[in-house]
Structures are given as C-alpha cells and as structure tokens.
C-alpha cells in the first residue's frame, strides 16, 4: 500500500513540476502571440514599408511611419554603448585585476545597487543634472540624444560590469602566470592576454547592455524630448520606439492603438535578435 502511494505521489510531483517548467514557455508564447496578433494586421493593411520606412507619424490621420523612431532607438543605444562600454569594461578589469579584497567587498555591492535604482529615478536625476548641463554648456533644450545617451550609458553599466567581470575572472590563472613569466607588465598581460581570452564574454556583455538600452522606457521619455524626427545633431530631441508606446498607449484607440502594437513588434524582433546573439551566437564560438 505505502509503496504504491509513494509511487503515485512522485509521479504527481513530477507532473506538476513539468507544468511549472512549461509555464515559462507558455508565458513567452502568450506574449508573442498577443503582441503579434495586435501588431501584424496593420503591417498587412498599410504595408511593411510604409510603417518601418515611413517618415510621418500621424496615427489619427493614417500615417504610421516609425522610421525616425527606429533610427532614434539605435542612436541612443549606440550612444549608451559609447559611454557605458569603456567605463563598464574598465570597472570590470579594475575589479578583477587591481582591487584588493576589501575594496572589492565594497565596490561590488555598490555597483549592484546601481542596477537596483529604478529607471524613473534615473530619468528624474537626468532631468535635474544632465539636461541643464547640456543646455547651459552646449545649447539646445537639453532634452537630447546626448543627455539620453549619458543616462542610458550609466544605466547599462551594471549589466556590462557584471557579465564582463565574470568573463575576465574565468580566464585561467595559468594564462596570467605565463604572461608574467615572460616579463610582461600587468597592463600588457591584460591587454594582450586577458582581454583577448575573455573577448566573447565581454562582447556578450555589450550586446546585453544594448538590449537593455534599446528596451529602456521611462528614463528615456523623461529626457529624450520625444520629438518626431530623426535627430541631425547630438543636441536634437528624439523619440524612441519604447517612448512611442509609453507616451500614447493610455489614450490610443482603433488603428492608433494597433500601430503601437506594430511598434512593439519591431521592438520585440530587435530584442530577440540581440538576445539570441548574446546568449547563443557568441557562446557557440567559445565552444569551437
């Protein structure tokens, strides 16, 4: 009797846990289905070209061009990377190669706390500090590509630091010792041995940082100025794909609302490509 009871219970547990594990896939599936289901009809009705390559966004007058936003999203992401990548990589190198145990005990949690600060707070502080700085010293309104890139650059630091730190730490100790034994200085070792060995992990950290920057919303709509054109200088305001959704979703109806889901589809595709490269494309290279 007892044996049979246990046997069944184990099976029940396994079945329940399998369902739990499948739930993540189900959620992913639902997210895809519902965003695609709402977003695709407009692509079919208006035409892929007219949406993705269209310049005019006037959703209440049947113009759904999001090309300026696609360009803007990539511009702020690139800008964030220009600021966040060198800073993040040097922090990771410092943490793994230079800092003592005590500094590390203090630095690592501090850097992780940066990741915990909500994006609205970053946006708010960007408005208080960065926007006036840009306005007073460089001109324009201050709500600009430059300000947005600076704030996003800081926001992606924790991602870049933690992932490239893991990559650098996992370089075997013998590599370092071999390099030192040949008379190389510390910087030569880092520059010629450690960074090339950790290259794929560092690259993955940059790409995941890009994913974070392109998907960031609340901070961006507070700082970017949200103008509907392609910025011609770093001091021009711009509107990103995420900003477009967040700014208009609350009151949009009909085709206008559908067009925001089309914006979401474009964003989803970009994000999935970036994540795929970071998680699979790069790791595969290491195995070879």
């Amino acid at each position: 009797m007892i044996k049979k009871y246990r046997f069944n219970k184990e099976h029940l547990v396994r079945a329940i846990l399998t369902v739990f594990a499948l739930s993540s896939l189900l959620f992913l599936f639902l997210i895809f289905i519902f965003i695609l289901f709402e977003g695709l009809p407009l692509f079919l009705k208006i035409g892929l070209n007219k949406i993705i390559l269209g310049f005019k966004w006037a959703p209440t007058k049947d113009s759904f061009g999001i090309f300026p936003m696609v360009v803007s999203s990539f511009l702020v992401t690139f800008g964030a990377l220009v600021i966040g990548a060198p800073l993040g990589l040097s922090c990771a190198i410092y943490l793994s190669e230079y800092s003592g145990k005590k500094t590390k005990m203090f630095l690592k949690p501090a850097l992780e706390l940066l990741a915990g600060i909500p994006s609205v707070v970053y946006g708010f502080l960007g408005v208080i500090y960065i926007v006036p700085l840009v306005r007073n010293y460089l001109g324009g309104s201050g709500f600009s590509l430059l300000s947005t890139s600076i704030v996003l650059g800081v926001m992606i630091l924790p991602t870049i630091i933690s992932i490239s730190f893991d990559a650098i730490v996992s370089v075997p100790k013998t590599y370092r010792e071999g390099s030192f034994a040949m008379g190389a200085t510390k910087w030569q070792t880092i520059y010629k041995v450690i960074i090339p060995s950790a290259k794929s992990g560092i690259l993955a950290s940059f790409i995941l940082g890009m994913g974070r920057a392109i998907g960031e919303t609340m901070a961006v709509i507070m700082i970017a100025g949200n103008a509907l054109k392609i910025p011609t200088s770093i001091l021009d305001p711009l509107r990103t794909l995420t900003g477009n959704i967040a700014l208009e979703l609350a009151y949009a109806t009909g085709d206008h609302r559908l067009s925001l889901f089309s914006t979401g589809v474009v964003l989803l595709v970009i994000i999935m490509i970036l994540n795929y490269i970071a998680n699979f494309g790069i790791k595969r290279k290491v195995l070879k």
Binding site: E10, V13, R14, L17, T18, F20, A21, L22, S23, S24, L25, F27, L28, I31, F34, I35, E38, L87, S90, C91, I93, Y94, Y98, S99, P109, A110, L111, G116, I117, P118, S119, V120, V121, G123, F124, L125, V127, L157, T185, K186, W187, Q188, I190, L208, I214, E216, T217, M218, I221, T242, I245, A246, L249, L260, G264, L267, L268, I271, N275, N279
Partner: protein, 278 residues
C-alpha cells in the same frame, strides 16, 4: 621614442582606479541627491495620509499600500512557480533538448523589456480578459516579469547544494520529493531568498509594466479588481507632470530607501551563503 612599459602600467592603474571610483561616485550622487532633497519633506503625515489635489498636498499612503500589495501578491505567485521550475530543471531531468528549450524560454523572458510586458499585460489581462486596470492585472504581469530572475537564482542555489547531501538522503531510502523538500530546498533556501529579494527590488521600482496594467488611480485598491498606484508610478506622474517637486523628491526617497534596504538584505544573505560554502 619608446615609452617605458612600467610607466604605462602606472598610468593605466591610476586611470582604472579613477574610473571605478567615478562609477561609485555616480551611485553616491544619486543617493545623496535624493536623501538631501527628499528628507526635509518626509514626516509622519506624508507617509500615513492620502494625497490631495493630485498629489500636490497630503501623503502617499495609498501608493505605499498599493506597492506592498502588488509586490507581495506577485512574489506569492512567482516564487512557487519559479522554484518549482528550478527544481524540475536541476533535480528531475537530465540536460536534453527539452530543458534547452525551457532555458531558452526563461532567457528570452528575462531579456524582454518591461514596456513589452506592459503592452502584453494591457492587451491580454486588461482588455481581452476584461480585468480592466486593476491590481490583479498588475500582479499577473509582474509575476511573469520577475519569474526568470527567481528561476535563475533558485537554479544556481540548488545546483550549489553538495551532491553528498542528496546521496545521504537517498541512502536513507528517502524518495526524490522527500530529498528535495527536506534536504535540497532547506540548504538552498538562502540563495532562493536572495533571488526573491532581488525580484522584490525590481517589482518595487517598476513603472512601465505597472502603469498600463494596474493603472494610476489615487485611491486605495480595496479589491483585486480595483486600480491603484505604486510609489514608482506616483513618483513618475509627480515628476513628469511637474505636479510637485517637493512631493516627488520625498516619494523618491522612500522608494529608493526601500529598494536599497531590500538589496542590502539580499546581499547580506548571499554573503552568508558564500562564506558557508567556501
């Protein structure tokens, strides 16, 4: 002319030092600004009274309650689901195509930005399932959003439980489930808890996914079907619409302090685990 490599070494070291402390400096500036500017406006009335005149006067009590309700209910749903998934992945299967697909799903969920969770929650829970802007729609959306964090940290925690503990349990003729509940989970509990705390931090600060699912009503969410406002959403509206800078600073102080507290607790638990196993 050839520069002495040892000289370059010193310059680099100096530069890296400066960059690392610059980064910490950013954190200090953020926290210090919010503390100094927010502190003067914090008092008993601000924490325990309702906002008046769109938030220009009064306090933020309903949004504190809204935040706690949203976060607690989401954690209550996501923890069993996430820990269950982690147990399944580590204890009940071997690496196979099936687990790879599930891991791909988890990684993909983790990479989806919060605005897309907002978009999904809005169309699925709010509109298709007719929940309206409600606490329930917010809870379900946030549950899905924090699930990958809980799965990944729990998986790490469960993996780091020594294999011997399991073997001993099996040798005492315990079943798999008994081993999981009585040996593996208790040993992995601090690690799991760290993941839960980090998820709480993420949910407390979330805005984009919450504002389109839970809405932004200033009243108390009295039932699951009521709309409500979290602190992060309240802060966003105060700051963006320029309603009141004083109240915005004060709200951000309470918001950031609660997140710092949660993160510090998480870090403390994690450190205890690390020192226990090494």
């Amino acid at each position: 002319m050839r520069v002495n490599p040892r000289f370059i070494d010193k310059i680099v070291k100096l530069g890296l030092n400066a960059q690392a402390f610059f980064t910490v400096g950013i954190l200090i500036v953020i926290v210090a600004t919010i503390c100094f500017k927010g502190f003067p406006y914090i008092n008993f009335e601000f924490v325990f009274s309702s906002p008046e005149d769109m938030g220009r006067r009064g306090g933020i009590f309903p949004s504190i309650i809204g935040t706690i309700l949203l976060v607690m209910l989401s954690i209550l749903l996501a923890t069993p689901l996430g820990v269950g998934t982690a147990i399944y992945l580590t204890e009940y299967t071997k690496e196979s195509r099936f687990t790879k697909i599930i891991r791909f799903g988890v990684e993909s969920l983790a990479g989806i930005p919060s605005i897309l969770y907002g978009l999904f929650g809005f169309i699925f829970f709010v509109i298709k399932l007719k929940m309206g802007w409600s606490l329930l729609a917010g809870v379900l959306t946030i549950t899905i959003m924090i699930l990958p964090t809980i799965i990944r940290t729990s998986e790490e925690a469960i993996k780091s439980v020594p294999r011997n503990l399991r073997l001993v349990s099996y040798s005492l003729s315990a079943t798999k489930w008994e081993t999981v509940t009585k040996v593996v989970i208790p040993s992995a509990a601090p690690g799991i808890l760290t993941g839960v705390m980090l998820s709480i931090g993420r949910a407390v600060g979330e805005t984009a996914a919450v504002i389109f699912t839970m809405g932004s009503s200033l009243r108390f969410p009295a039932s699951l079907m009521d709309s409500g406002r979290t602190m992060a959403v309240h802060f966003y509206i105060l700051a963006r619409e320029g309603i009141s800078m004083e109240k915005a600073y004060a709200t951000s102080l309470i918001l950031v302090l609660s997140i710092l507290l949660v993160n510090i607790i998480a870090y403390y638990i994690m450190n205890r685990v690390i020192s226990k196993y090494s």
